[in-house]
Amino acid sequence: MKPLEAALAGIVLLCLCGCAGSFEPVSSFFRSGPWWQAAQADELRVRARKWEARNELGMAIEHWRLVQRITADGGEAGREISRLQKTIADAAKTHYQKGITALGKNKSVAARNYFLAALQVNPGYEPALKQIRRRFSPFPFTVYQCVAGDRPATVADKMLGDRQMAFIVTWFNHLPEDRDLTPGSVLILPKWKGTAPPKPREKQAPNWLAEARNRLAENDLEGALAVAREADASDPDVQELIHTLHLRLAAQRIDALELAEAGKFLAAVPDGFEGKQELAADLVATRQHKAVERDLGRARELFDQGLYAQSLDQSEALLNRVPDSRHAAELAAESRYRLALDHYDHQRYLSARAVLVDMEIGHAAGAALKETVHARLIDLAQFHYRNGVKHFINEDLQKAIAEWETALACDPNHAKARENIANARRLQQKLEALP
């Protein structure tokens, strides 16, 4: 029976090979086949929700479709897909309707953006794409449907404003010039109003101002500025547009924290121009903020290098300048704690206490360390006090006073040490006064 079982196993394996096509896909099949894929469902659900949170609903749907495919239970995925499909359909329709309304109010830029928004949520939403193509995506041709009696010259007259342009009608439509045109036939013509032939060596002055305004509406500030600079600089409208662009660019640079650039743009705007004063104040505030961030960064670097004393100095200096800087206060507290801890670890308890004097009340670890240091100093004070007593008994007043002074330094409230020092000094004076 064993050979039969082996043969059976071989058949099953061959079947799988047949399913997969070759041995490489077979290894892939076992490595990342349906079991593994099904185990990724949770990860895909997370990704789907992330895309949805970013408003990329098409991506979210694709992820849910994948979840539906790889899991046996597609109930949740199916519900999510239906919900998202409805959201997409509603959003696309709403944006489209708003676009149509904006068109009715002659707000073409707003209309275009609504149509684009509709396409963003649903790239297959044909009405929005048609509107974009028809109204905002220029193409060099226009079409004309012939009526009875049309000839190339009459069409040229109607469409190009000059009968002499008949040769253009014929060239674009491969027609003989003097032929009657069939009513209903469609001609293509250049989208160009050739009312008069361009005169030799005469440049057609482009409307730089209009072009610059279009760029501004598209938020292409650099492009708008470049185009505006081509326009007549003596025109007050051009000047105003350039100042506006400089202000917008300055604001953009401030947002990007490119303050030197922002300053240059701002300097190009005359004082008193609307919005300059506010932006200048904004620039000053941002500069201050940036300086604070820079100094805080340096203090953090020092902290990371273990230079807690320097980090504490930097952050305290920063706090003096900006008392309400929460980050500086936190860094100062942490630096203070680490510095004190360092002193404590090296048994420099007095230094640790000195550092901890200004410890923030809310810093739990700092408060605990303060108590520990205090307790250690009390113990030390007692130790030095006893040493002092021993020296006193041995009649070595100098050493006794030194020990009691150390005890007093460790514990300024050590009353006996204070009293003994006074007594010892008096005794010392008496002894010195003896002949």
Binding site: M59, I70, P138, P140, P190, W192, P197, P198, P200, G223
Partner: protein, 334 residues
């Protein structure tokens, strides 16, 4: 014997159940709907050392599409065993993002390292610095066909995409700029004035064919590279129009004859045109035409007036970087 038979049947059933279990999850929903749906991304398991490029080579048969995998998964580093989705189609048509739309910068270079000191000249050193900047910052150099597909709302471009063009047929460009482009793995579109090819200090047709074979796109800049807006003194408008049509038609035919492929892209000579010239170009079979006005291109821009930003010696690398900073322009009224 009978007990062995029962054991065998049990093992056979187990094998069948396992085999059906292997196949079931993928097929269970296959019959739910017969309506055509966009292809779903392929879910794969990353291997040790996998990058978007290696995954793209393995699953899309094109390493240059690594950016699609990186953008679809919103990351570019994959650890072994990690789930990676391989998109099977464009997923952001027209560069539409929730925050706005992608616009594509198109650069136009003139002479690189030539003897003349024209305004558009750029030293090979500066050109190299700019190409290096593009490569270091992960920019993908496009072909004009990719830009046209993007504008037709049927293609998607990487977030960091740029179309590099040059209005020249000079030998100095071939010798100074082309090696730099090759070095950084960038492609470019070279608009040539067909009538000038083969003259002194210009490229030969053999050199142009070689560039074409290497993947550079060859476009047309008219026959003599002279502005089509110029009209000779005393010339009638009809004669002038015939000259424009012939200038474009002859140049197109000459390039097509030399390269054995349709020439679909036009750069208006001297970057200037009007509606009539644009319509003439479209009628003659060009798919897109480029002028020399600054600005970048959204998908719905005029395909016969694509803006290009001129890069010359006055542009510093920092400015260049700023110009190329990918941006999502426009507030979509959200």
């Amino acid at each position: 014997m009978s007990s062995r038979c029962i054991r065998f049947l049990g093992k056979l059933s187990l094998a069948l159940v396992l085999a059906s279990g292997l196949l079931m999850p993928q097929t269970v929903h296959a019959s739910e709907s017969r309506a055509p749906r966009p292809p779903l991304p392929h879910l794969v398991r990353a291997r040790l050392g996998d990058t978007p490029a290696t995954l793209a080579q393995r699953y899309l048969k094109d390493a240059s599409k690594g950016w699609m995998i990186a953008e679809y998964n919103d990351k570019s580093d994959f650890s072994p065993g990690e789930a990676v989705l391989i998109p099977k189609r464009a997923f952001r048509l027209g560069g539409l993002h929730p925050d706005g739309i992608q616009t594509v910068p198109v650069l136009v270079y003139g002479e690189i390292g030539g003897d003349s000191r024209q305004e558009q000249d750029l030293s090979p050193k500066d050109f190299r610095a700019q190409m290096k900047w593009l490569a270091v910052h992960g920019f993908v150099a496009l072909t004009p066909q990719q830009l046209v597909d993007f504008m037709a709302f049927s293609g998607q471009l990487p977030y960091q995409a740029v179309l590099i063009t040059a209005d020249t047929e000079s030998q100095s460009f071939y010798k100074q700029a082309v090696p730099t482009l090759r070095e950084f793995g960038l492609t470019a579109t070279i608009f040539i004035a067909a009538g000038k090819v083969g003259r002194k200090d210009t490229m030969t047709w053999d050199q142009i064919r070689q560039l074409h074979r290497e993947g550079f796109s060859i476009g047309c800049r008219g026959r003599n590279g002279r502005s089509l807006l110029r009209q000779k003194r005393g010339q009638s408008f009809q004669a002038n129009f015939n000259w424009i049509a012939s200038e474009l038609h002859q140049a197109k035919q000459e390039i097509e004859a030399e390269l054995g492929q349709p020439c679909r892209y036009l750069a208006y000579p001297e970057g200037r045109s009007n509606g009539l010239i644009a319509a003439t170009a479209a009628k003659l079979g060009f798919s897109a035409a480029f002028n020399r006005l600054p600005g970048s291109t959204p998908f719905f821009a005029d395909r016969f007036a694509i803006h290009r930003t001129r890069i010359d010696h006055s542009m510093k690398t920092a400015q260049f970087g700023k110009l190329l900073t990918p941006k999502i322009a426009m507030d979509l009224n959200r």
